[in-house]
Symmetry: C2
Subunit: 231 residues, 2 copies
């Protein structure tokens, strides 16, 4: 983690949060003066659950995993994050603590912006406030979906859903390099790593996917969708 800013300024940065687009020149300059870049190697922790949430964080490059640390060392992987995503968590406005951890998967470049600045802009710019509300809402909405998925689907459905999530929302391809370990896929789908292995094997036997240890190819996406929906 080093500390020189790589991006010359917010006004030329296209990897930040869409909600910054509506800012006035002065507001953007306020953000720009109060931002700090840092870079992280794979597996390094960017946000630690429970620590004081003083900054909003945006990745400008790379991929990270967002996860909650649960009971007896068990993690729950919530999602993967790339650029253009606000990382802060609802804890900011509840107890001023991050309520999840974020760790780099690939090499990551990140931009830290003090929450005092964010709050100042919320107070002065109703459009930005509404954008912030929409962001919070969208994330809460996904949590609602996720809670249903994790509690009501069986392992096949949950795993199928994760595979589709990677294809459609992260790697934008049906043939992707699997950057997560079996353990991490398990933390995402709430299953033991051995179960992940077994069910990946079953899906492979049924010619629905091709699963090498470090890559996945979806062969029959329709069938995978059916499995994901039927649970």
């Amino acid at each position: 983690m080093y500390s020189e800013n790589v991006i010359s300024g917010c006004e030329v940065c296209n990897r930040c949060w869409a909600n910054f687009k509506g800012l006035s020149a002065e507001e953007l300059e306020l953000v720009n003066r109060n931002r700090y870049e840092a870079s992280f190697n794979p597996s390094e922790i960017i946000i630690k659950q429970g620590s004081p949430s003083s900054n909003a964080i945006f990745l400008t490059s790379g991929l990270a995993k967002v996860y909650m640390e649960g009971y007896s060392g068990r993690n729950l992987l919530i999602n993967l994050a790339e650029h253009s995503t606000l990382l802060a968590g609802p804890g900011v406005h509840v107890n001023s603590r991050y309520c999840y951890s974020v760790a780099a998967i690939t090499h990551v470049q990140a931009c830290f912006i003090s929450f005092d600045v964010i709050r100042t802009i919320i107070a002065g710019n109703p459009g930005f406030a509404l954008g912030f509300i929409e962001d919070l809402s969208e994330k809460a909405f996904r949590m609602h979906q996720k809670i249903l998925n994790l509690t009501q689907k069986k392992m096949h459905g949950r795993l199928a859903e994760a595979l589709l999530y990677f294809a459609d929302e992260v790697f934008h391809s049906d043939d992707y390099e699997m950057l997560l370990t079996r353990q991490e896929i398990g933390e995402m789908t709430n299953m033991a790593k051995e179960s992940v292995v077994r069910i990946l094997g079953e899906l492979e036997n049924e010619k629905i996917i091709r699963a090498m240890p470090r890559s996945v190819k979806i062969l029959d996406k329709d069938k995978l969708r059916v499995i994901s929906e039927k649970g």
Copy 2:
């Protein structure tokens, strides 16, 4: 469901949302002119998941259950709601649909306020916008806790937690009338109603609670807390 307003006006109502306290007289009058009261009998639906979210709803009296309708008719009960709670859900700012259902448990009096009005006030009153953000954040935060509880704890822990939730956050007593059926307790803790019965029986045998079909008395709260935390 009938339609005369029982409460004379927002300025004298102390059962509404805390976030309305900071409104100017004009803003409050705007709300007051655009609100509609309705009353519901037990088991009647106040909000139906998936329907267009045109109104924010506040209970002024009574108790309701907030639940998601999941796969193959299975429900997930998220929480119980009384007065002073905003009911709308994150779907409002995502796809303009309610993402959960709300049904009356006791007789309920509710106040409907158009979301157009809410949005107008958000745009004009930064304090109100921040209050809205805090409300969203708090609910998202609870969902984060809930997802951990439901996925990582075993049945005993989940049930103990539900019993403590009723005592501490709903009925404010360690000896309360159980207004939910075993089925509904199951929907809240993600377990089959038979499992609820069995584990309530076990807790009773261990003299931790006293469980009549329609009432619960917590005898050993410390032990119940340990069970809830150990999972």
